[in-house]
Symmetry: C2
Subunit: 492 residues, 2 copies
């Protein structure tokens, strides 16, 4: 397993300071995690109850103690594969009795270190809980288990004329997407998981099963527990059923690419599109490097310039009207004539390339790791924010690429670092810190969609303020007094 920061290997059960980061934002500000190992008694109880679905072999533990983040593996003591809400409740109840951590695990595609067992404990794999429990076509809702992936869901509801729009790059599980309040390319029109989860079944930190919300479209019945759970990164309970809004497949869909010589023109075109209130369904930016990477990875043959990749949904006339409005705006900003992808196959090819762009970028530099940013700023500050971070990366001469959901003010800068080059890693983190600092000063956030995990934790005091963080801690303490639910994530 490649190691980015040698100091991030928790050699003696404590997270040491990173030697390479600037002191103000150094992971040194993370606490020294103390492992709470699973006792022989608990391990035996789990093995007796779950048999072949309870694993203690190193390979399985390591696979469950790592994700797509820069961090090295930190394995749990035990991995249990649950198959039902009742089983999840049993595992959490046992963990609560023994006061050991439980880390819910889905597809393992976190980018921020959510899945590392920094205090040891049980990785609770819910990927096998992958049933679609109900499709209410008339109400445009579905209820699914947490291990259903976004692609699986869309495959299974497509023939009923429905789709679920939230699409992080990876084929993440719906449970993981709830946990990180994920979004993706369609959020500019359809919102994020925040707007698209109607209700949840949750196993609380004491092992009790509760329901939050109903299938009604709106409600004023008490505290919004649904949205408290969405984005809580597994730190308040385990989601075991998720009721989502889904949407009728649009009557007409067209995707278009528009090329720009200068990235600043592309960004300013996006700002105009959003400020005009065009109901664009997708509005993605790929810088020249990203286009080059996806060309190489997906054999697309796109002109290697800055690209806007857009999609329009609606009636045939509505799609045409939107496209004409947007083409007029991009024309004003020196964009090329649109190249259209009108067939489902052409569109799938383009969007698959977009979704694999992160992996295309990582493949471009063999052996590299990617340090990814995830800031989101008010749209009026998009150009200022985005252009400044590109200038910084170019001045620092570090391999980088930029892509993102620019219609939301959200973009990802990826620094492609040699994990064995400590100076390069440190430089990338410095650039990332500067980028985040700037976004927060502009009224933005350090994370638009990936979550906090371990990696963004150091930015929360500045972004949220200590008062709001104390309120989060008070909620955590009230709902999980023994700190068993994914401890060490979001805040110390």
């Amino acid at each position: 397993m490649p190691i980015c920061f040698s100091a991030f290997t928790w050699p003696d059960n404590a997270l040491s300071a990173c030697l390479f980061c600037p002191p103000m934002n150094a992971p040194a500000s993370l606490p020294a995690f103390t492992r709470r190992p699973v006792s022989a008694e608990l391990r035996e109880a789990l093995q007796q109850r779950f048999g072949a679905r309870c694993h203690t072999a190193q390979a399985m533990r390591e696979q469950h103690g790592v994700d797509e983040s820069i961090f090295s593996v930190e394995p749990p003591d035990v991995v249990v594969f649950a198959q039902s809400t009742a089983e999840v409740a049993e595992v959490v109840t046992l963990a609560a009795q023994h006061k050991v951590p439980v880390i819910p695990f889905g597809a393992g595609s976190s980018l921020e270190g959510h899945l590392l067992a920094v205090e040891g404990g049980i990785s609770l794999d819910v990927s096998g809980m992958n049933a679609i429990l109900a499709v209410n076509t008339e109400d445009l809702t579905v209820t699914v288990q947490p291990g259903v992936t976004r692609e699986q869901l869309n495959r299974e509801i497509r023939h009923q004329g429905l789709f679920f729009p939230i699409d992080p790059g990876a084929d993440a599980t719906i449970g993981g997407m709830c946990a990180t309040r994920a979004s993706g390319t369609n959020a500019v029109r359809y919102g994020t998981m925040r707007e698209n989860v109607l209700a949840l079944e949750v196993v609380t930190a004491s092992g009790e099963v509760i329901r939050t919300g109903t299938r009604a479209k709106k409600s004023s019945a008490g505290y919004d527990l649904t949205r408290l759970m969405v984005g809580s990164e597994g730190t308040l309970g385990v989601m075991t059923e998720i009721t989502l809004k889904v949407y009728p497949l649009p009557e007409a869909v067209s995707a278009a690419t528009c090329m720009f010589e200068d990235i600043s023109d592309a960004v300013r075109a996006v700002m105009d599109i959003i400020q005009m209130g065009v109901p664009i369904a997708r509005c993605e930016l790929l810088d020249t490097a990203s286009v080059r990477f996806v060309n190489a990875y997906s054999q697309l043959g796109l002109p290697e310039k800055t690209m806007l990749l857009m999609e329009f949904h609606g009636s045939p006339a509505g799609v045409q009207e939107q496209a004409e409005t947007v083409q007029a705006i991009t024309d004003e900003h020196q964009g090329s004539a649109f190249a259209w992808a009108n067939t489902p196959e052409e569109r799938t090819r383009l969007w698959t390339a977009r979704h694999t762009s992160y992996f295309a970028a990582v493949q471009s530099r063999p052996g590299c790791k990617c340090i990814t940013t995830d800031t989101c700023v008010p749209i009026s500050r998009l150009a200022d924010s985005l252009l400044a971070c590109i200038a910084d990366a170019e001045a620092a001469r570090i391999p980088h690429f930029l892509l993102g959901h620019v219609g939301d003010g959200n973009f990802h800068m990826g620094y492609l670092v040699d994990p064995n080059d400590a100076a390069e890693c440190a430089l990338a983190e410095q650039l990332s810190d500067k980028l985040v600092q700037r976004a927060i000063e502009m009224g933005g956030t350090c994370t638009g969609e990936h979550g906090v995990g371990l990696h963004k934790m150091r930015f929360l005091p500045q972004e949220c303020g200590e008062g709001a963080l104390d309120m989060m801690r008070a909620i955590k303490q009230a709902l999980d007094p023994h700190r068993i639910m994914n401890p060490g994530k979001i805040f110390a």
Copy 2:
């Protein structure tokens, strides 16, 4: 002040059982509230600090201990008019030191008893905090103080080409609308306060000032404190600044009325409109009684039949396309040809009539009080739910009317009762209980937009389950250990 239930007058500082309601849902399940009077020392401290803005006269106290609900006045001990966040923090800090209740007060338009000082204490009137602090036209956001009303906001941003869509019937304050998670006629397209609040400044129960969220359109930075506060009915803190999404005024707007001989046809037309995914901006139903009331109150001269009142927003071509689709659907359900309101003046006249329909109904029976329901069900159950409650009301021969945001599955049944006729009041509550029971069994909620307050509290155990209610109580206990923030509301 008219009294609906004689037993609701808290004669000796305790809320007694209502004699007239069926035992299973009786307000007897409410706890016996104990007043925590403001001490002479605290009263003097408030008077010294706030001078003429601190009131103890009975008239002012009574005005602040009542709202538009069926409940009789329960006055606070002191009323303080705050003018700034710092002043709110001072009042809450003093209240926390003395462990006496604080009840935030805006326009006083709650329908559910939120403003009654059931445990005494301080009514904190923020209606004077009515500044619009920022209009960020490019980002489509505004930041306002809590005392700004929805009509004031729309007046002040209209000339910048913007509007704020959430419109409860009353000219409520934005603070009150946040507190109850309000919605209104535009929610079918634009969402509710849940979807339209980006960030808050809140004075916590200890008097600390915190911020939740940023102006970024989306974020995954920790627990969603914004949405925890939205809908918390003043029980977790006092909102002192609110950042909202606003929208560009649509290029084209058309309103239309469509009449039906039979209400079931109207309801089934609405279900088809929603299930077709038409992006209709407003889709309101008024039964024949409601149309008669608004005719009398607003001199509209509408045909006295069941009416759908709809509005379409978009480009001129888009509006026309939507209207044609909807007209085709209503035709299939025996609706009349649309009558159009195309000028702003005509539309304002219709929507003002819709917004005053509650008052029009109450005026139709001099001396009456209105017991209002607020259920919201999945759209597939709208006809079942709505037609059954009309049948019940007709069988019971109680004066009633029905109107609502049927595009959301949300409607209001109003029972117009003689407050001095105990049997009639009891009958109305019985009908309301049956209606709510049915909605919950259909996967719906007891309150789509009015909040719980005192009046809907008895339904929460069935709707949410004791586990979820316990989680709400744990959060309340963690954030307000001395129960000073609007105690006695939502849950006991």
